[in-house]
């Protein structure tokens, strides 16, 4: 082996200035274009079929029936009581469904995070299966179960709890039950994931330091699970705001939510300006909520880091 010791400072031939800059730059550019090319079919389709029409609708919402630029489509939301009623109903349903989802989902997620892994994964299948089942199928099932001569009423009468069948569908209650069933997995899945990452050591330490099980839960576990809960809540709430199928089928025409209003305005009355304005407002509220929660959670994560 001959190790030729060459001084790194010594140069074989003397050309000063930067070497191969142009070629390297061109190669880098080609790579960027190549990768962009891979993205381009997806970007093109999403741009064409989602972003372009949504932008178009945004544009439409700014014109009145005579094609004049105006805010008439938005002013209507404040002036006409039927719109106000739609918004109130939508928020009532969304808050109601989210609240029930928290009440049902939190204990479920907590249980899943505490039981052995194998049992949890079997239970998870029961959470995910509805997730993979068509919303229509599930709504239909609830219609059947809750109808006047349906399963629930039959049983309640048989048990002697009630005499007259309860009105469980084609009203607010029906919408709440049906939507809760659809939304529950959206709340449970992120909540469970965050609970899973809370080490049992924290709880052991809490108990070791003299806190009882209840105090340990409220002072240690619950605060740590809040980011996951917040994520689940915001997803659930935002999905509720724009939800269509279940309220349309289970509301019996009495519970008009935002999305149904959009559908009526555009298909029934062909009022594109008004329908678009509703859509724009819905999008703004959705983005606003997502942005707000994003900011809130980030602050929490930062606070957790800063506290250490």
């Amino acid at each position: 082996m001959t190790a030729v010791v060459t001084d790194p400072g010594k140069r074989v031939d003397d050309d000063s200035g930067e070497l191969n800059v142009a070629v390297l730059k061109r190669n880098a550019r080609n790579e960027v274009w190549g990768l962009l090319g891979l993205c381009s079919p997806s970007l093109f389709l999403v741009g064409l079929i989602i972003i372009l029409p949504v932008g178009w609708l945004f544009w439409l919402s700014l014109y009145d029936e005579n094609g004049m630029l105006s805010f008439v489509n938005y002013e209507r939301f404040v002036e006409q009581s039927s719109y106000v009623k739609t918004f109130v109903t939508t928020f009532e349903v969304s808050f109601g469904v989210t609240a029930i989802c928290i009440l049902l989902g939190y204990p479920l997620a907590y249980m899943l995070s505490q039981i052995p892994r194998r049992a949890a994964s079997i239970c998870m299948i029961l959470v995910i299966l509805p997730f993979w089942t068509s919303v229509l199928v599930r709504t239909y099932a609830w219609l059947v179960i809750l109808q006047r001569k349906g399963l629930v009423n039959d049983w309640l009468i048989d048990l002697g709890i009630i005499n007259q069948p309860l009105a469980l569908v084609n009203n607010f209650t029906g919408v709440l039950i049906g939507m809760t069933h659809i939304m529950l997995p959206f709340l449970v899945l992120p909540l469970y994931a965050s609970m899973k990452s809370i080490s049992a050591d924290y709880q052991r330490a809490g108990m070791n330091l003299g806190a009882g099980p209840v105090a340990t839960f409220w002072q240690i576990f619950f605060p740590l699970s809040l980011p996951g809960l917040a994520a689940g809540v915001v997803i659930t709430f935002v999905l509720c705001l724009g939800f269509f199928v279940t309220p349309a089928l289970m509301g019996g025409g009495k519970v008009i939510m935002w999305a149904m209003r959009m559908q009526q305005t555009t298909s029934l009355y062909a009022n594109w300006g008004a329908g678009s304005a509703l859509g724009v407002l819905l999008l703004a509220v959705t983005f606003g909520l997502l942005g707000f929660f994003n900011w809130l959670l980030r602050g929490q994560i930062k606070a957790a880091w800063g506290g250490k």
């Binding site: 082996m1 001959t2 190790a3 030729v4 010791v5 060459t6 790194p8 400072g9 140069r11 074989v12 930067e18 070497l19 191969n20 800059v21 070629v23 390297l24 190669n27 880098a28 790579e31």
Partner: protein, 360 residues
């Protein structure tokens, strides 16, 4: 045994790499001799891995030139460079068995089946894994995976071989064993090799030459023994081995400590306060200060730490600096060693005293 007769040199010139506004490599030059085993050594963030990735073609430099033999490769895509590469985590293909992993580069080159079988067998033999061709990757131990990765990197007789901390995932004893094996494999095959590590012992054990990198520059490029005995910069002295740093005053190319002229083989700066670097095992106990000549240091023993076969004695010099001395626990050495708190005289030979410029 196939020996690469025509191992090419690598000439790396004026490499500049920026990530955003940060200069990762600053106008870097490096020549690797044909068949040489050269190690890039440095702390993380020094740019050594980036340089290796630029050599392999996975990272694109902003400017510069890399010639392997006569060919400019910096503008080539990775698969045309003909470079064998071994990664830290081996990067064996888990969906292929050992044979197919090693045959992969040959299949890309459309080598005929009979030749592939022969060459894979030969490569397996070279890494002492005869008969392992049909094993699945997950049936192999860490050391065996390492050997398969190595066989895969050399089977197509690449122009050069690059290794990115290939032994860091192995435990200590296996790592030391593999160091020797890698070294002997390199001796047998003689391929030009660039090796990246942050482990100075590994670098010193294996390399023909070591390029110590810091902040995107090569601080010093030398044979291991020279790097150790005569570090040229404060960084190199601090990074490789244990060192005593003693401040000395330099005037007109001569270094002074407490009025005594320091005898040294290294180049002494013209002015300013710089460092005398000495290795603890080169420092010796002296009976007293003899005459005007020689590098003598007087202080008192602060602490003696026994480490079984050897000991370290920390002496506090008169100006408050600490100088460490390491020696074996032999009776003749121990008998001359003063107890803690007592005065001590230390001596360093001229060959073992290096002067390095203080970093601003």
């Amino acid at each position: 045994m196939s020996v690469v007769l025509s191992a090419p040199p690598i000439s790396i010139r004026k490499i500049v790499k920026r990530f955003g506004s940060q200069d990762v490599l600053k106008d870097l030059d490096l020549n690797v001799a044909p068949g040489e085993f050269l190690t890039l050594l440095g702390p993380s963030g020094s740019g050594k891995t980036t340089l290796l990735m630029i050599l392999a073609g996975f990272v694109r430099a902003n400017s510069g030139s890399i010639k392997i033999g006569p060919d400019e490769v910096i503008t080539m895509p990775p698969h045309k460079r003909n470079i064998g590469m071994v990664f830290q985590n081996y990067a064996l293909f888990p969906h292929m068995n050992v044979f197919n992993n090693i045959a992969f580069p040959l299949k890309q080159r459309r080598v005929d089946k009979a030749t592939i079988a022969r060459q894979v067998e030969q490569a397996l033999h070279q890494v002492q894994l005869d008969g392992y061709a049909d094993r699945r990757v997950d049936q192999l131990s860490g050391g065996q995976r390492q050997r398969v990765a190595l066989a895969r990197a050399i089977v197509f007789e690449p122009r050069i071989v690059l290794m990115d901390e290939p032994l860091s995932a192995l435990d200590k004893s296996l790592r030391e064993h593999m160091q020797i094996e890698l070294r002997s494999l390199h001796r047998r095959l003689g391929m030009t090799t660039v090796y990246v590590t942050h482990d100075q012992r590994e670098a010193i054990t294996m390399s023909d030459r070591i390029a110590v990198m810091n902040n995107g520059c090569i601080e010093q490029l030398d044979k291991p023994e020279i790097l150790y005995s005569t570090p040229k910069t404060q960084f190199v002295a601090g990074f490789i081995g244990e060192s005593n740093f003693t401040p000395v005053d330099c005037r007109d190319g001569v270094a002074w400590y407490e009025g005594r002229q320091i005898e040294t083989r290294s180049q002494v700066p013209h002015a300013g306060q710089h460092w005398l670097v000495s290795r603890p095992e080169k420092v010796r106990v002296a009976d007293g200060v003899n005459g005007d000549r020689g590098n003598f240091f007087t202080g008192s023993v602060r602490e003696i730490v026994y480490q079984g076969d050897s000991f370290i004695c920390y002496a506090t010099l008169r100006d408050g600096q600490v100088m460490a001395l390491r020696d074996y626990c032999r009776s003749d050495v121990l008998s001359r060693l003063p107890a803690a708190g007592e005065p001590i005289h230390l001596r360093i030979d001229a060959e073992d005293a290096a002067i390095v410029q203080a970093e601003s």
